[in-house]
Symmetry: C2
Subunit: 291 residues, 2 copies
Amino acid sequence: LVLGLDPDPARLWPDAYTLVDKPGAESAADLAAASVSAHCAMVIEAVAAHCVAVKLQVACFERLGAAGWAALRDVAVRSRDAGLLVIADAKRGDIDVTAAAYAQAFIGETLTTFGPVPGLGADALTVNPLLGADSLAPFVEAARDRSAGLFVLVRTSNPGAADVQELVLREGDSVSDALARLVRAAGAGSIGRCGLSDVGAVVGATAPERLAHLRELLPDSIFLLPGVGAQGGRIEDLAPAFEASPAAGLVAVSRGIVAAAERDGGTPSQAAERAAAGMREATWALARASL
Amino acid sequence: LVLGLDPDPARLWPDAYTLVDKPGAESAADLAAASVSAHCAMVIEAVAAHCVAVKLQVACFERLGAAGWAALRDVAVRSRDAGLLVIADAKRGDIDVTAAAYAQAFIGETLTTFGPVPGLGADALTVNPLLGADSLAPFVEAARDRSAGLFVLVRTSNPGAADVQELVLREGDSVSDALARLVRAAGAGSIGRCGLSDVGAVVGATAPERLAHLRELLPDSIFLLPGVGAQGGRIEDLAPAFEASPAAGLVAVSRGIVAAAERDGGTPSQAAERAAAGMREATWALARASL
């Protein structure tokens, strides 16, 4: 189970607003970023015991500018301190030299005349493969240097995903299948002791009928599975993801955990903890069934 | 002509390092970001008279973290002060709620309990359409609200672009053609007095054989044309982009201007100014020819 954090600064846990204690914070951006940071810290504390990783939605931090990036770094540090892996959900993709710059931002570091500037230090990054294999290569190289990983978009969780990803190619397969082939090629040669490579795939939990097929195309890849809950996906439909290995599926849930109190009542932290505990059980049941 | 700024903090104009004057700057990130900002200011001053816009490569700022985002904002402000439009080359793409957050970051603003937090205020943003029409919609809406525009990736300038974008579909056309159809649909209804819509396309100058075809598919879209110079594209091959209108092509050049002194000699600013003047002439010749 992966805790998705996509904080909306207008809809944080109430205590996040009162606990803001940031000396020198003056602008709305500074105060909002401090609240976002406090909110994420509370959510992590409530549910870390039930999760293996956080998935940080970079957009939600980036919209607060420089203060948001500082908060993103705070939350990444706090996640690691809580024993969680950090997945930066940034969906970056660009030509080679620029992809290398994004890899520096999220995984590696940037060499400057004033010394190295550390990146976010993420354990994994989501990337967009529309620009092709040479746009993935700098991410793969940077991730491998740091024992980090990638999750490449193969079949996303939104309704419009089919517009491009499910276009049918001349040979009868789909764009999504072609993306899966890119992922397999990028991960070849990195397969570790558990039989899994360092190049995973984002496969939406909202299209379970595609899961078994993509698992056949990608027998060595960890699947990051967003879309459970608010978007309509159900954990119990995700068994094919785990067929490759009990560790081959990461179920990412954001609002289903963070906003559980809106549905179940109780305090935000109690409701989140209970929701996460139940989802962990449902996820581990799939993992155990694959043994 | 569009000035591309993708500053590498280890390869700035020499004066950028000596002119750093940022009270309180202590960390390598702060000093590097201040140098990047100074470098961009000098380049803008040298060539603004020959350009209509800057294209800011967000990755190159983002790799410096919070300090980099502050520099990105500085450079955007300075560009506008110099009379240039600001194109944020961010290539973002995500599901609807997240796309809306990125639109807040680059074009609009974010509402928070502490008041609105302004975004970058870009006049245009590059976006990645792999997630389909519903992932473009929040960007289109945000851009239209602010009289801003989008450039959607249709055929990028890198060698690997063909891996996905030129896959042949069952009907015989390509993925890139399908992306062009998404662009046309998103821009329909926004066509202004010059016959151009607010949803443009990124079409690499390195694939001129595709240009005429994409211009047929996209008669109303402004084309942002990267890839001239270091990547091998040539301005004189870009005439089809301008066939829709003299204003329908934006030739984006980065290293060909900023690093002109390495090729032509002279001071960085003199060489950049001369290179930009020549490229402006070459670009305007295409625009005039389309009248």
